[in-house]
């Protein structure tokens, strides 16, 4: 029991000591006035890995310097991703990353080769998948790009969640190493934001 108490104590101390990076707050107002009318496809982020792999992760930060467009009367930041040419066996997960205090309020649509919208995902299509507020889909033949921008209607809403897990560690006690597992049960409130992180996971069903 004493060893566990020590372990718990060590776990708590190390947990506190490692929190040194300032946490980015959610950005609820986006007021840039120098935005383009349409997204620039020339700088699309490639989703094609150098070699075939089962999972290919691509992640980009969205901040105040990220390119922006004006889809209606109000501006929003955006990132364009280029769908792999060999898309037939690919399943994509695209979404906003869950950070300690914020989630990028992703609005996601696909575009054809000329940049015309093909489909836009509705709120009902979004789910939380391992740290991503995301949609999952298989690209269609005429889809070439994925446009991820911020959803003004979603910004400011709060997502409250509970996360459970196990922290493992070891400590030196009474002349021997003692390994331990401690259950964690954490609640968090995160606010949807104009800024944050956008991630794409390209899953290739043909690679082990």
């Amino acid at each position: 029991m004493r060893a566990i108490a020590v372990a718990v104590s060590i776990g708590l101390v190390s947990g506190c000591a490692t929190t040194t990076t300032p946490l980015d707050p959610p950005r609820l107002v986006y007021d840039r006035t120098d935005c383009a009318a349409a997204p620039d496809l020339m700088n699309a982020v490639s989703l094609t890995p150098r070699s075939e792999r089962a999972y290919f992760y691509v992640s980009r930060a969205v901040d105040h310097a990220t390119p922006c467009w004006t889809p209606d009367t109000q501006a929003a930041p955006y990132i364009v991703f280029e769908i792999p040419a060999a898309f037939a066996d690919k399943t994509l997960i695209v979404g906003g990353g869950m950070e300690p205090h914020r989630i990028f309020a992703a609005r996601i649509m696909t575009l054809d080769a000329e940049g015309a919208p093909v489909r836009e995902f509705a709120a009902e299509d979004f789910f939380f998948r391992q740290g991503l507020y995301s949609v999952q889909f298989r690209p269609r033949e005429w889809e070439r790009y994925i446009l991820v921008t911020s959803d003004r209607d979603l910004v400011g809403q709060t997502y409250s969640s509970i996360h459970i897990g196990v922290n493992s560690g070891a400590t030196y006690a009474a002349g021997t190493y003692v390994s331990y597992n401690i259950g964690i049960d954490e609640s968090a409130d995160r606010v949807f934001s104009h800024t944050g992180t956008v991630s794409v996971i390209v899953q290739d069903g043909q690679v082990d």
Binding site: Q130, Q136, I162, I164, V166, I182, G183, I184
Partner: protein
Amino acid sequence: VFKKAGLVALAACVSACVSPYVATPYDREAHTVRSIVMIDDSAEDQGIAYEVASLGSNFGLIGVLADATVQDTRKRAVNEALDGVGFDAEALLERRLDSALEGEAYEVSVQSGFDRPKRDFLVSYPTADGNTDAYLDVVVVYGYLSAGMLQPFRPHVTARVRLVSAADPSVILMDNVVVYNGMASEPGYIVLTPNPDYAFKDRAALLAEPDRLAAGIEEALNDVADTIARLLQ
């Protein structure tokens, strides 16, 4: 104990060796499913009541032995409490799936007579009768889960769900995993956060209010069923 250790080693090997999970999203434009038959025996008769990083599991072989007894005793007591209030996870799940899918304009029926000794998807599906577009195959684990010592028990459901073509069951139209208050997750898994109202601090609290105990799992099953219906919108 050795059997348990062997299973753990096997699970570690399997998880290290198998291909990563890739879900199959349902494409409404590509498929025209309207009539769905749900395959029954979706849930085990007994729910889980498991504490993951328990005190005993941190104390070597003797601790693991003692822990297994504690876990089994708790599970038995929780299931007796659920039986006492007439809780039936499978009936609740099927009823909610039926109403949620009908809300999406599907015609739904349940086909019984199946048994899943390995708690897995069916190996072979019924011969198509011409009126069924697809079979909905759902395998569910439910109950209560605590992350570990001094952490609350919360409702838990893991549902593996698959929609296969009735004309050719080798064609998978949708495949997903929905986890309510889960611990293990892969990138394709859909994660649902638990309702904080259903948190029980220990075994005594779990057993003190059987109706509330059952209501927590029922809400989790409903949430999962509604999610499955959304995946087929």
